[in-house]
Subunit: 216 residues, 4 copies
């Protein structure tokens, strides 16, 4: 955790540092990210950095935490219909994830790097993995209990499918939709008929593959 010193900083200065740190860690893996670059750009002294943070890892962990918090807040601000079934919920979650990625690309990118790095210091790696895994695991179990998801499926395997598609679908769609698109960003990119069509198909594939089979 950042030291108290950091939180005593004037809001503007703190934000400035965070923004530059986000940019650095969004563009570089942990090892490539450079404290020197951050402080140089932020215009603060090297030593000051170590008055604010324990070390490089401390800053990184803090940014990841910021990302988690921002996403949680985002989901809370875009709440699901409490009545929706499992696949509608997944649709909501996935869509929210994509919009979040479009609106806060740096936070998403840092989290993405962290999960895929293997260089993640210690607990974070396990934590992140366990987090998403157990979340989807729960989701699957509820879906099976409600009859939304094929109850004969191994729940962990089903959770794996949700997890991996959930993780990659956003990047795939964004990358694809940005092809030949000057540089629309944010929500707008995703509010096109083509986007809706692709998204529907993806969800349909998941539903067909994992959904409960109707008795014939």
């Amino acid at each position: 955790m950042p030291k108290a010193t950091f939180f005593n900083l004037p809001e503007a200065k703190r934000q400035h540092i965070i923004e530059l740190a986000l940019a650095e860690f969004a563009e570089n893996d942990f090892d490539q990210a450079s404290i020197s670059r951050i402080v140089a750009r932020a215009g603060i002294a090297k030593g000051s950095f170590y008055q604010y943070f324990e070390n490089k890892e401390d800053l990184h962990a803090y940014l990841l935490a910021l990302g988690a918090e921002a996403k949680a807040q985002f989901l809370k601000d875009n709440p699901p219909d409490p009545q929706m079934g499992t696949f509608a919920y997944i649709r909501w979650l996935s869509q929210a994830g994509i919009v979040f990625e479009l609106e806060r690309p740096q936070l998403s990118q840092i989290a993405y790097r962290a999960v895929r790095s293997g260089t993640l210091p210690k607990e974070m790696q396990a934590l992140a993995k366990a987090g998403s895994t157990s979340f989807f695991r729960q989701l699957v179990e509820q879906g099976q209990a409600h009859g939304d998801i094929d109850a004969t499926l191994d729940p962990d395997l089903a959770a794996f499918f949700f997890n991996v598609i959930f993780n990659e679908l956003g990047s795939y769609l964004i990358h694809r939709l940005q092809q030949g698109d000057g540089g629309a960003n944010g929500r707008s990119l995703f509010e096109t008929p083509e986007a809706a069509h692709l998204f529907n198909q993806a969800l349909h594939i998941l539903a067909s593959g994992l959904g409960a089979k109707e008795p014939t």
Copy 2:
């Protein structure tokens, strides 16, 4: 390419160096991998390394080439039934990939890192990426032509599903099956009823999600 000097080395010494290099690059991304560490462990002089290889990149490329060659050989040794349909083909490919990963985990890991790094020298990156994307794209189009895959699906999106599942399923299954398993490795780990069951389910999910819908 390694220099002639390297290939003139006694078999044992050459193997020793390769093994240590594989370990280093399997555990570290290109930038983090350390030539110093390799030579220290191998008990050779720093200078000797540069008698064998042009530079760090040369060694890395060689290891990737070794991996590609080993995998190609492996697939040739475990050929598919020429008559099989799309999903059977995917099953074969996926299974072969998993067994290869179990038997040569370092080679797989190095290739995996390389693809996900963006630091790949020049052509290799494009080659690898284009390779897998266009490969699955082709597979999907053939499947749609043969009636194996739902022809109404966007072929690129379907290829994405194959691609991502193909990339991640192996790691997932291996990781899961190794839980609570002292350290069985290679084929044996994968020749259990549980493994077969999970694998069948995974393929079934794909087939249900992406397969052609029977007319009712």
Copy 3:
């Protein structure tokens, strides 16, 4: 340019580093000069050097700049008589060059090496070369216009004579006068009758060879 860090150093330390660097680059060509040697002698950490300078080239360029500045200052402090003719001007310039070389032999040596190396970074080389060449070229043209220099001479060839004699005469005289002289240095060495005599003869040779021929 050296970093701000360097200029913030205590005067004494900065001077110490500069002196050692001057010695190193005066005794070695750029490639042979060793940063390791400099820092070892200066008793500073390798890393500190790179807090002061961008890199080896940065230090080298700085020393060259110091030399250029020192020489310019020196010439300003020993101004020519504004009325003097071409040969008197050459005499003044040459004498000043020699005294400067005696007083700041390292600065002269570094500049000399730089000009003769061909390894000069980029602009400096062209600058130095063009500088001296075009400078003497101008001088010759003015001399010819004023009737000081034989107007039938190829001006470029005449400039070549000035240039080469100017470049080498100093070293020659210094080397010669220091023979059998314990170690007088600076101006004193040059303020002897012998020195004056040799210098007069050299200038006379030039004037006879290049000067305008009196109509008989």
Copy 4:
């Protein structure tokens, strides 16, 4: 001196090695010249090199000796008119030097580098310098005895003028004449009216500056 082994080599092989070594040392200063490159290009083993030569310096000294020998031979093959005066002799010597430089540029270049390096191992430097100095010194003394050269001049200073002009004039003329000349080489470049004119002027300058003054 090269070892006996070297002189026992088949003529062709020996020549081949010499040519590549000449190329290397003509293009690089002593320290930059690379034994590795030479043996690689010559297709001989590293170890063999050290069977032929004591070390790098041995080879370098040998090449310098070859150059000296070749030049001596060249001068013997283009003998001066035994009756000519000092300036005619200088003219002949200078012209021969230029033609030699045009015909054996590598040998000239190596000698030139050696003289101007200061890195020259030990004796060679002194030797080379002393050699040319004392040669011109002798020439001047003879010229003064014969009344060709102003007897009031300091003979060492006069020798310096001959020496430096002699050393640099060739390069200057060659460089100048090759401007805007596709790539004529050898003697032809020097057999033009412009070349003759420049050469005449240069000699005339020397003669006017150093020659005996006619009593008026």
